[in-house]
Structure formats: C-alpha cells, structure tokens
C-alpha cells in the first residue's frame, strides 16, 4: 500500500484551558481515499479537519502532510497539498468577480498568464460555473456560491480536498451536484474528506467513514460497516440513512439483506421477492 498522504499521530488540542477539543486522535489518510467525518457539533470534526491543512496546530502529537510536520512548515506549503472549503461561503469569498475569486489562490502560488487562465477555466468547468466569470460572487444564489468556494480551491489544484459541511442549506438538487462533484474529484485521483451531518450523502459518496464524539474517534472503517453499527450510531445520536435502518431492522427479523443505499436495497429485494414467488 502507498504511503499515507496525511498522518495524524496522537493529536491533542484545546481552544483554551477548559475545552479539550481533540483527545489523542490518530489517523492515516491514503492518496485517493473518499472519507466522511461524522458526529455531533462539538465532537471535534471541524477541529480535526483544520489540523489537516495546518490551520490549527496540535498542542500534543503531530500531523504530517506528505511528511511535512504542520507545526514547523509554513502554511503556504501545506495549502498547496491540502485545500480547505469552509462551511459558510461568506467566510471565504471576497473578490468582486467570480473570475478573480477563482484566480486568487493560484495567483498567490505564483501562477500567471495562460496557465492561470487555464486553471480558472478548468476549476469553473469542474463545478459547472462556466459563463459566470464576470458576475459578482454575492449575486449568486447560495448553491452556486458554495460551488464557487469549491472552485476557488480546485484552481489551486491541491491533492487533498477538505469540505466542511458542503450540503448544509442545500436542497436535493444541490446535494446531487455536490455528490457528483466529490465523486468527480475523487475519480481524478484527489483525496476527498467531507465533514457532514447528511447520512444519505455519506452512504452514497464515502467509502470510509469516521465517527467522532467527545474529541475521539469512535468508529473508523468502510462506510457500510459504520452505517451498519446502528447501536453505536444511536449512542452518538446519529440517525443512520433510512435504508440502513430499514435493512438493519429486517435483518434482525431474519431477512438476508444488507443495504445502505436505495439502489442496493432495490437489487437485494428484487432477488428476495422473486425467490418467494
């Protein structure tokens, strides 16, 4: 197996003396993974995510990004590898046109001229915002603003994307666009890490899921296994996707079914029902 692109080693973090946000978190992230981090607010998800690109530094333990210790490496070197998309678009957007917004990051990395233009066009086409170059970011609707914040990270072409609650405030259509975008980035070889409360999104998109509570990792494994650990999820007050719960309850009743998405349940029930006829 390849070397981890990010190594989190026994990381402790506190915002002040009272609130300990991370309590000895260890985690290896490999290139090309598609990971969801779930858990209640205050469980440490965002704090952990902000350690992955050096926005926060561990009080104890260390984080290695491609071997670089985030405590001693200048941030501009880390953000070339790990791009972070904030939850609230207005915390991130500041330029007066969509084009300038997306060009800002790569410009700071010293990219200019044709290469810069190519990067911006590519990033906008990835999120489907071609044609909006001259618009003011704040004139976009919320869904498009969110896509723009992602484009402005794509244009820096990092190897790892960290997305903090991308589906909050999105309707079904917005969620689908984001799910497709995550898959597309992942197919292009990017490592994608999504912090989310949206369990349906997790079941459909993530291959590996990490459940955090009280600053610790409670579960870390293939999404199917985590979504099927109904008792642990309940204890963390996480509502699994409806299909996972449906499948779990039928399994308890003796039905041979193990599905976390609609399409999986559809295939398995087709077989089960036709066997009964």
């Amino acid at each position: 197996m390849a070397e981890p692109i990010i190594k989190v080693e026994n990381v402790w973090f506190a915002y002040d003396d009272k609130v300990v946000a991370l309590r000895g978190v260890s985690l290896d992230i490999y290139p090309g993974e598609m990971i969801a981090i779930i858990g209640q607010n205050g469980g440490g998800k965002t704090t952990l995510a902000k350690h992955l690109n050096g926005l926060l530094k561990p009080k104890k333990g260390r984080v290695l990004v491609k071997g670089m210790d985030t405590r001693y490496t200048p941030t501009h070197k880390i953000v070339k590898v790990v791009g972070y998309v904030f939850q609230n678009p207005s915390h991130q957007l500041f330029a007066s046109t969509v084009y300038d917004e997306v060009a800002y990051g790569p410009k700071n990395l010293g990219i200019e001229g044709e290469e810069l233009d190519k990067r911006v066009k590519w990033a906008l086409s990835m999120v489907g915002l071609e044609g909006y170059e001259k618009e003011n970011p704040y004139d976009l609707d919320y869904g498009k603003m969110k896509l723009l914040t992602i484009a402005s990270v794509i244009s820096m072409d990092p190897e790892v994307f960290v997305l903090d609650e991308p589906t909050t405030g999105q309707d079904h259509r917005g969620r689908m666009i984001l799910a497709d975008l995550c898959k597309k980035l992942n197919e292009q070889g990017k490592t994608v890490i999504v912090i989310t409360h949206d369990m349906k999104f997790v079941a459909e998109v993530a291959r590996r899921t990490i459940l955090m509570a009280d600053g610790r990792i409670v579960l870390d494994g293939p999404t199917r296994e985590v979504m099927s650990a109904i008792d642990v999820l309940r204890k963390a007050a996480i509502k699994p996707p409806q299909i996972a719960e449906f499948s779990y309850r039928l399994r308890e009743a003796g039905v041979n079914i193990n599905a976390i998405t609609i399409s999986e349940a559809l295939e398995q029930l087709k077989a089960l029902l036709s066997a009964r006829r």
Partner: protein
C-alpha cells in the same frame, strides 16, 4: 368563525425586485392540522410563510393579489404587530428570532410579552408554560448565547409560543442544526402537533415530516405542484424528483420495485410502515 385557521385564495406576489415569487396559490388549514410545505430552494416557501404573518406585503412591499385570512383576520387589513399574536413565525436561523438584549432564557421568552404590555403575573405564567412546552425547564437563568443549536431553536419557538398564536409557522426550523438539535426540535414539533396545535412547517427533512404531517404542499417556481394528504403527495415520486425533492427513501424504494418488477405492495411513507409491509411480504412478520 370558520373551521379554518388559514384561508389563502389565489395569492400571487412579486417582490419589488423579483417578480412572480408566488403564483395563484390557494389552500386552507383546519384547526389542529399540520401542513408541511416542501420544494426546492427558491420555490417561494419562505415568502409564503411571510405572507401568513403579513410581513409580505407590509414589510417588503411589492405586488400582492388575492386574499390571506388568518384566524379571521385579512392580512391586508391588519398590521404585522396585530397579526403577530395570531401567527407565530419561527425563522430558520434562531439567532434572527432572538432579541439579542435578554440576559437569560426567561427574559428572552418574556421579551415579546412585555413589549406588548402584558401584566407581570400573566407574563410569568405564559413564560413558564412556553419554556415547559419546548423542554427548556432548568435552563431559565442560562444566557441565550450559552445554549446549543437545538436549545437555541427551541428557545426561539418558546418566544413565539408565549404569545399563544392560533397557528405556528416554522420556516426550515432544523436546517442549521446538528443531528441532536434536529431530534430535539422535531420532538417539540411532534408534541405540539399531538397536543392539537395548528402548524405550518417548511422542511427539507421529508422523512421526518412524513411521520407527523397531515397534509403536504409541493411548491415549485411559486406554484403549487401537488397538495393533499401526506400519503398522496409523498407517493408522487416522479413529480417530487422532477422538482428536485427527495421522497422518503422507503417510498422511493417501493416505487422503483413496483415499477421495475411489478410487485404488488402498499407504498410506505415512514420507516415503521415499511418494516411492516416488507416484513409481511417476506414472510418474517
């Protein structure tokens, strides 16, 4: 007074800078009924909520036609302040709801009542009752900013309940909350519904809505696309998807099974119904 708490007839509305946000909308809500409003972002859901308490058109201006009557009051003939005691509107972001000046949960709930000039004894009774209804007993002397997301939204609901409105209008009350917060707020809404409150609620969490809504209205581009009993509207899988709305997963699953294999199954709209239907179909229950 008629048996309807809300009567909306041919309501059309344009904001000063945005035309045709609501197009010819008609519906009625009976006392004790829960109406769920669903639809994609930009469908006009929030605008419709604001039309129910008179913010549209009194505060926003614009072009308004048709009739909105709430608790017997035509919204065009009454001020927002008068309507506020009849229609309690809870916003998506609880921070918007709170006065920002109250130092404690108790004071926050009392704030609206004291602004309306209620006597102190009456305020005390109502505040305690409202706090109990949303399950915030024991947190009366806590500062509002110290509350969790779910607690803050429940506080926002309490400030509205204290005015004893005839109808509670909730605009995506769980959209910004984490799973625990969502659970807390849904529990409060379900309890209020069971106790017979009249409720209009805009929600993206269709699977939750399916467990307590009597009627559902699907809005898209300002128009009513579907309206009727929850079971009927949530079963319209194609129409929902066309509007960019997800039906409950168990409903969609059953719809697909029927379409692809032609099985003869009842269509569930909740998890419990689905377990029963499939348990029987598979001979394990």
């Amino acid at each position: 007074m008629s048996e309807y708490v809300i009567e909306v007839e041919n309501l059309s509305y344009s904001y000063p800078r945005k035309a045709n946000v609501l197009r010819n909308i008609s519906f009625k809500v009976k006392k004790g009924e829960v109406l769920g409003i669903i639809g994609p972002n930009g469908a006009g859901k929030s605008t419709l909520c604001k039309a129910l308490n008179g913010l549209v058109p009194h505060f926003y201006g614009g072009r308004f036609s048709g009739r909105v009557v709430v608790a017997g009051m035509n919204t065009l003939e009454h001020t927002v302040a008068e309507l506020a005691t009849k229609v309690g509107l809870v916003f998506q972001d609880p921070e918007e709801q709170l006065s920002g000046v109250a130092l404690t949960v108790y004071e926050e709930v009392a704030f609206g009542l004291s602004m309306l000039g209620f006597p102190k004894e009456e305020i005390d009774v109502r505040v305690k009752e409202a706090i109990k209804k949303v399950g915030l007993e024991g947190l009366e002397w806590r500062a509002p900013f110290e509350l969790s997301g779910g607690q803050t939204q429940r506080l926002a609901i309490a400030t509205v309940l204290a005015l004893k409105p005839e109808v509670l209008v909730l605009d995506e009350p769980t959209a910004q909350l984490d799973p625990i917060g969502k659970f807390e707020v849904f529990s409060v809404i379900k309890k209020l519904a069971e106790e017979g409150s009249t409720i209009v609620v805009v929600e993206h969490e269709i699977e939750e809505l399916a467990t307590f809504a009597d009627n559902i209205m699907l809005l898209n581009e300002g128009r009513v696309v579907a309206y009727g009993p929850a079971r009927k509207v949530l079963g319209m899988v194609e129409e929902l998807k066309k509007c960019g709305v997800n039906p409950p997963s168990v409903t969609e699953l059953t719809y697909l099974l029927k379409k692809e294999v032609g099985v003869d199954l009842e269509v569930p709209i909740t998890l419990e119904e689905a377990i029963k239907i499939y348990g029987e179909a598979l001979g394990v229950m």
